[in-house]
Symmetry: C2
Subunit: 336 residues, 2 copies
């Protein structure tokens, strides 16, 4: 099948572009020095592609992602890079012999939950500037001691410079990363352990202090990351069909709307067109300059602004090589 | 089960509030004068509640919604209030004897698709100011003639004043609705037929010219519509769990993020708190004024800014009455 024949809206992954992104990242972060973040693509089929090139450890953001990765035979070394209080589901995961699970903890409560759930290993999650989870760097040693008191193995620290990864200016990104990683190193001094986990697609070549990089968006990319000076190319589009053309009012409409796109980073892009707005099931756009008017029924490609919440709306990705759909990957890690 | 015990994030519907919203709307638009739009809630269980109070006709925005409603025995009179070129799926729907389907058309191409798919009935979709689908009012008669030439029954017109429904000032909404409905009336003059379909939650008591109101958001509501002077109350929240509290930096974090919330209308609300931002699986917020600091593990409620794309992320809604979960409704109409 041709991608232009897909029922729309539909996620489309350009496989050669994805493979090139994966190869570029693997040259700088080979094997287990990269811990790909499955939250960006939520597909065990895509994770298997990464596993085949040597990345055997993964990051997850939800328990559902951990469970799904283990079910798919990819549980060799999963880091739940997030806090949880769900001792029941942790206990079920702790009983599995096909899973090595490490979880992030940043408080007495999350340490008690890990211990009660029978999780063996943790990282101390450290706030390195992003106002999200993570303890104060100076408090990391106390929490590590507490975790060890509770019988948990502390593998090290993690800290995500999420407030830095999207900065457009490269020197701002470099300086911000250095400051964040100084905080993480200070915490690591207090905690010990072999692992210093952090970083992301936006700081992939600026963060040189982590022992493992947590990156996921680099695989499929989005317009937000494409605005930076990164060597990764957008592999993901949402295929749509033009439903309506109104030349007198100067716009056209396709069937890629709010329910097919993560909107937190703003409007998607349509090459050669200005996007006016999205509603539930529509994107309204207008041809720019020399771009010819589209016709009703024509296939179009929409470039999402933020990959993670876009993928999470879809049941499957259609994998394309040389203008043929060569595979279909279920988005099997969505929901919680 | 108590709603505070649900695994999070989870959609929670307060049933008494929903029932009150439904009753308020049904007093003004009883029976089939209301054509509830299932895109707002994507649940046949909620649609059945509306069917039981006399609303037997429904609007859908996708073919999946049409198929699911028919499968659930709710296919008495479904309007696909959207354009489609998918003749294969239309043909499959046209063969069903448990479905009366009317579809919106606004071009030669969509009329040809309806005829090729064997759909018997259409409405001429008219642009009444919102730059989305819909023909020019003056062109509606020509399209109706063309549709009749192709053997389609033209039931009338539809036109959605979507650029008006969210205006905060009531007189702006009134004047905008009047202007839009004048355009729709002019088109109706050219088209004929018994049906004039339009309107929405924001113009529910201002639009007096349609023969049937297309409203869906009034059932569950959201913070965007709650900012207007409407008698409908928010029945939908996203239940979350506080994962992390950082008093020294002044914020707390819960597990309700971008993948649990439609973000096109901006940040969600947490009562008594200022919401700072959302990331994939987190909302960061800070207590306001007298609000006490939350504790790790505490249950919180997040109020989404836009109901439709919020619901579309979730597998199910948990229905609550008197602080007990009394039912679980699958979000069985999501995807396409």
């Amino acid at each position: 099948m041709k991608p232009a024949e897909l029922p729309t809206p539909a996620l489309v992954v350009d496989l050669p572009t994805l493979e090139e992104n994966v190869a570029t990242m693997a040259r700088r972060w080979p094997g287990e020095s990269l811990r790909p973040h499955v939250k960006a693509f939520k597909s065990t089929a895509l994770a298997k592609l990464l596993d085949r090139v040597g990345h055997h450890g993964f990051c997850a953001a939800t328990l559902r992602e951990v469970e799904g990765m283990a079910d798919a035979g990819l549980g060799a070394d999963i880091l739940l890079a997030n806090e949880t209080l769900d001792t029941d589901r942790l206990a079920a995961l702790a009983r599995r012999d096909d899973l090595r699970l490490t979880i992030a903890v940043d408080s007495i409560e999350t340490i008690e939950a890990a211990a009660a759930g029978g999780v063996g290993e943790v990282l101390i999650d450290v706030c390195v500037g992003l106002p999200r989870c993570g303890c104060e760097p100076a408090d990391a040693g106390r929490l590590a001691d507490l975790a060890r008191d509770r019988g948990l193995a502390v593998r090290g620290v993690m800290g995500y410079e999420g407030h830095i990864v999207g900065l457009e200016d490269r020197s701002d990104r470099r300086n911000g990363t250095d400051a964040s990683m100084a905080d993480l190193a200070a915490a690591h001094q207090l905690v010990g352990g072999a692992v210093v986990s952090g970083g992301g697609t936006g700081t992939w070549d600026l963060n040189s202090s982590v022992t493992e990089l947590q990156a996921g968006s680099y695989t499929l990319m989005d317009t937000a990351y494409a605005a930076l000076d990164l060597p990764f190319t957008q592999a993901l589009t949402v295929a749509g069909t033009v439903l309506s053309v109104n030349r007198s009012r100067g716009f056209a409409v396709a069937d890629v709307g709010l329910k097919a796109l993560g909107m937190d980073h703003g409007l998607p892009r349509v090459e050669g067109h200005d996007v006016w707005f999205c509603s539930d099931e529509h994107v309204t756009f207008a041809p720019r300059d020399e771009t010819p008017w589209p016709s009703v029924g024509q296939a179009i490609s929409v470039l999402p602004a933020h990959v993670d919440p876009t993928v999470a709306y879809h049941e499957r990705m259609h994998v394309v090589r040389d203008d043929e759909v060569v595979d279909v990957w279920p988005v099997d890690l969505r929901n919680w």
